[in-house]
């Protein structure tokens, strides 16, 4: 079998002072991730002579005549699949006045796309956050 993980990550950031006391900055990060087990190649092996495992179940499923055969796993083209996209974006600004009072406003976006949910089911989400505060420096 072949177990493979692969990830691409791209990020960019801009910081700009529009005025001496007025700053703005933005940041974005984009990630693509893959991971899976492929090329399963099991030879047929099934128990013989066991009262329970060596049971003829062809009447139930002709394609799987033995109750237990590891070659049945070859039917999976991918196993333990992981496939996701993630975007983190933020933009913020701050302004500082002469009297020590500052204004700050930030926006955050988190996007996670779980394209092949596995045992934990769909873990994707899109969330946003707006944060603002006033500061006083002394």
């Amino acid at each position: 079998m072949d177990y493979r993980t692969e990830a691409h990550t791209l990020n960019a950031n801009i910081a700009y002072s529009i005025l001496p006391r007025w700053n703005i900055s933005t940041n974005v990060a984009f990630t693509i991730g893959h991971g899976n087990i492929t090329d399963l190649d099991f030879a047929s092996m099934y128990p013989t002579g066991d009262a329970k495992l060596d049971l003829d179940v062809s009447a139930v499923n002709p394609d799987m005549p033995h109750l237990y055969d590891v070659a049945y796993l070859n039917g999976m083209d991918k196993y333990s699949d992981l496939d996701y996209k993630e975007v983190d974006f933020s933009i913020g600004t701050s302004y500082q006045m002469d009297n020590g009072i500052g204004l700050n406003l930030n926006y955050y976006l988190y996007y996670f796309d779980d394209e092949d949910p596995y045992v934990y089911r769909d873990q994707g989400s899109t969330t946003q956050m707006l944060m603002g505060y006033v500061s006083y420096s002394f």
């Binding site: 079998m1 072949d2 177990y3 493979r4 993980t5 692969e6 990830a7 691409h8 990550t9 791209l10 990020n11 960019a12 950031n13 801009i14 910081a15 700009y16 002072s17 529009i18 399963l40 099991f42 030879a43 092996m45 128990p47 013989t48 002579g49 066991d50 329970k52 495992l53 179940v57 139930v60 499923n61 109750l67 237990y68 590891v70 996701y84 993630e86 983190d88 955050y108 988190y110 996670f112 779980d114 596995y118 045992v119 934990y120 089911r121 873990q123 994707g124 989400s125 969330t127 946003q128 956050m129 707006l130 944060m131 603002g132 505060y133 006033v134 500061s135 006083y136 420096s137 002394f138």
Partner: protein, 632 residues
């Protein structure tokens, strides 16, 4: 502990605010500064229940559970007449808090404290992949038994044979998460009368509280996985005094650390498949031959004590000798109770001991040439775990005679037993030594060449019991160079080669040495034979070695840094690793890994900074895969 923490941090912050009030009257002195922050956080749309196990941004952020949360922060710094003080605080939510503070009295006494708390959303494994071999009567698909652990649902045509792998989730609607808090304190005493002496005391407190998903597992529960929610409350306290002394060219440091890990976790126990009143089967799940609930997901209380001594001796301006010794002892303290059979050694604590010695000699021969010679010795000695089993004898007629189901599972009170003891020595018991050298040659002002070689040998005490190699020898070779082409361009090259003989393998990991699939003849006859086990039909047939550790490793890395003009800086790096293990049966184990990235920072004007980066990672393993056989 939390109340004490909050009280102390509140007191520190109150002192900070009070101090601020005092100094405000003396603002012209400017020996203080500070900031107060007041605001709020808004979440347009809360996480819904489906997203409670979300990955990405919300995974470590509790704010997404509420539409509005406060933002209260502040900091203050003051310094006057050798007295320095600072405090920082940020409160956003009961799970999102950060505080820190510092006090310095003429640098004789320095105190630092730091507290933080956050929430981690945990996964919920719905176990949808565990529905193998459950056939509904009309073969309409896999059967999910949902939250009903009732064995009565598994009967007749629903189970063809008895090879069942299924699950029960007793907390199917539950969402899991752990709040983690850490509080670190450090105080230094610099003794004025002894300028080379410094005394330090560190304390670290960690607390984990919340709920997590836990799964049962035992002889039969491996096929019927039962999941539940466990309430978690674990605390760790580290106490670390340290003394540092420098006398002339000799520097010494001695430290001791005592760690206490305490759990007040919910005691988890389960009646297998809801078999209340059916003790004829329950008591065969464990070798204690008792009936009733079976414990699972138990974490023992433990302690750790470690002693560390370090010396550094500057022989002269060119030669330095350093060495350290570390002794540590870990003790598993939970050894009493009704479930000793699961916990191991009866009545005694289980100790793990280790000794480590490191030594290094550094010499700078001249401006062009320097070298290091180093060595390391380590041994690990752990207590063996003693197991006592209360084994039932065969019922009349078994294994050779005909035994009916009713005869096989008769009331346990009519059985006879014999006691069987087994000692399991630790697979970690070992000793290892390492010797090596590295040489640095500065060929020209801009070109530096490095060569390194290490040899390590590890010997394992209980290799026969664990079916692993007796010893492993590792040779590691490294070649590297730093090349400053000019003031704006720099390259780093690095190559590593490793050869391991014999690599760590499990000698009896799979069925046949040639890697083909052997014929499984099934379990021995005598369905109700107490001695009926996976051996010899399965375990004893496994004679082939497998491993996921390398025998050969090649690793090459190139890094560059280029800043053609003052406003532009770029970097690039690539790393390739190839590892292979041919010392296994069947197909070789292989690894191919590539990591690469590039980035840049550009500042076209004074007030604008642009930066960007890209990273690529590829990691691939080729291995033979062994499928276990479950034969309930």
């Amino acid at each position: 502990m939390r109340k004490i923490t909050v009280f102390i941090l509140t007191a520190i912050f109150a002192l900070a605010i009070a101090g601020a009030g005092v100094v405000c009257a003396e603002k012209d002195g400017k020996w203080y500064s500070g900031k107060l922050e007041v605001g709020a956080t808004a979440i347009p749309e809360k996480l819904d229940s489906r997203e409670s196990g979300a990955k990405g941004g919300p995974e470590y952020n509790s704010l997404f559970d509420k539409r509005w949360t406060s933002y209260l922060g502040g900091n203050i710094e003051a310094m006057r007449d050798g007295f320095a003080f600072s405090a920082n605080a940020l409160y956003r939510d009961v799970y999102e808090q950060d505080y820190s503070g510092m006090v310095s009295l003429k640098r004789v006494i320095n105190f630092k404290t730091d507290y933080s708390r956050f929430y981690h959303r945990l996964d919920h494994d719905y176990m949808d992949n565990l529905n193998a071999h459950i056939f509904p009567p009309a073969s309409t698909g896999w059967k999910n038994w949902g939250s009903s652990p009732d064995l009565a649902g598994i009967s007749g045509g629903k189970t063809i044979g008895s090879a069942n792998v299924y699950h029960t989730d007793l907390a199917a609607d539950k969402f899991f998460g752990i709040a983690r808090a850490e509080w670190k304190n450090k105080v230094d005493f610099n003794i004025p009368l002894l300028p080379g002496l410094k005394l330090t005391f560190n304390h670290r407190f960690e607390e984990r509280k919340g709920d997590k998903q836990v799964m049962s597992n035992s002889k039969c529960l491996a096929c019927h996985i039962v999941s539940d929610s466990q309430n978690i409350h674990e605390t760790t306290n580290d106490y670390s005094p340290k003394a540092s002394l420098r006398i002339g060219t000799l520097a010494m440091e001695f430290s001791y650390m005592h760690r206490e890990f305490d759990t007040r976790n919910e005691d988890m126990a389960i009646v297998y498949n809801g078999l209340k009143g059916k003790e004829l089967f329950m008591n065969r799940l464990q070798y204690d031959n008792t009936t009733g609930e079976l414990p699972f997901s138990r974490t023992p209380d433990s302690t750790k004590d470690s002693f560390k001594g370090k010396i550094r001796w500057d022989l002269n301006a060119h030669n330095t000798f350093t060495a350290n010794y570390i002794y540590s002892q870990n003790t598993n303290q939970t050894v009493d109770g009704a479930y000793d059979i699961l916990m191991g050694k009866f009545g005694d604590e289980i100790d793990l001991h280790s000794n480590i010695v490191n030594a290094k000699f550094h010499s700078k021969v001249n401006r062009a040439f320097s070298f290091n010679i180093f060595g390391r010795y380590q041994d690990l000695n752990n207590d063996s775990v003693d197991i006592k089993k209360n084994v039932r004898t065969n019922p009349p007629g078994a294994p050779g005679g005909a035994v009916t189901l009713a005869e096989g599972y008769i009331d346990h009170s009519g059985w006879s037993y014999f006691e069987e003891e087994e000692s399991r020595p630790s697979g970690y018991d070992s000793n290892a030594y390492l010797v090596g050298t590295d040489l640095t040659w500065r060929i020209t002002r801009g070109l530096k060449f490095k060569f390194g070689y290490e040899f390590q040998r590890e010997k394992r005490d209980n290799y026969q019991h664990h079916h692993v190699p007796r010893s492993t020898k590792e040779h590691r070779l490294s070649l590297a160079s730093d090349w400053h082409v000019n003031h704006s361009l720099k390259f780093d090259f690095d190559y590593r080669f490793e050869y391991v003989d014999d690599p760590y393998v499990l000698k009896d990991a799979e069925c046949t040495p040639d890697g083909s699939y052997g014929v499984y003849s099934g379990l021995p006859a005598g369905l109700y034979d107490v001695e009926r086990a996976y051996a010899p039909a399965i375990y004893d047939e496994r004679t082939a070695a497998r491993s996921n550790m390398p025998e050969y490793v090649h690793e090459i890395m190139v890094k560059s840094h280029w800043h053609p003009v003052q406003s532009l800086s770029t970097n690039f790096h690539v790393k390739y690793r190839y590892a292979k293990n041919s010392d296994v049966d069947g197909r070789d184990w292989k690894q191919n890994m590539v990591m690469a990235g590039l980035g840049g920072v550009y500042m076209p004007v004074k007030d604008l900074v642009l930066s960007a980066g890209y990273t690529y990672m590829y990691d691939s393993y080729d291995s033979q895969y062994c499928i276990a056989i479950y034969d309930g």
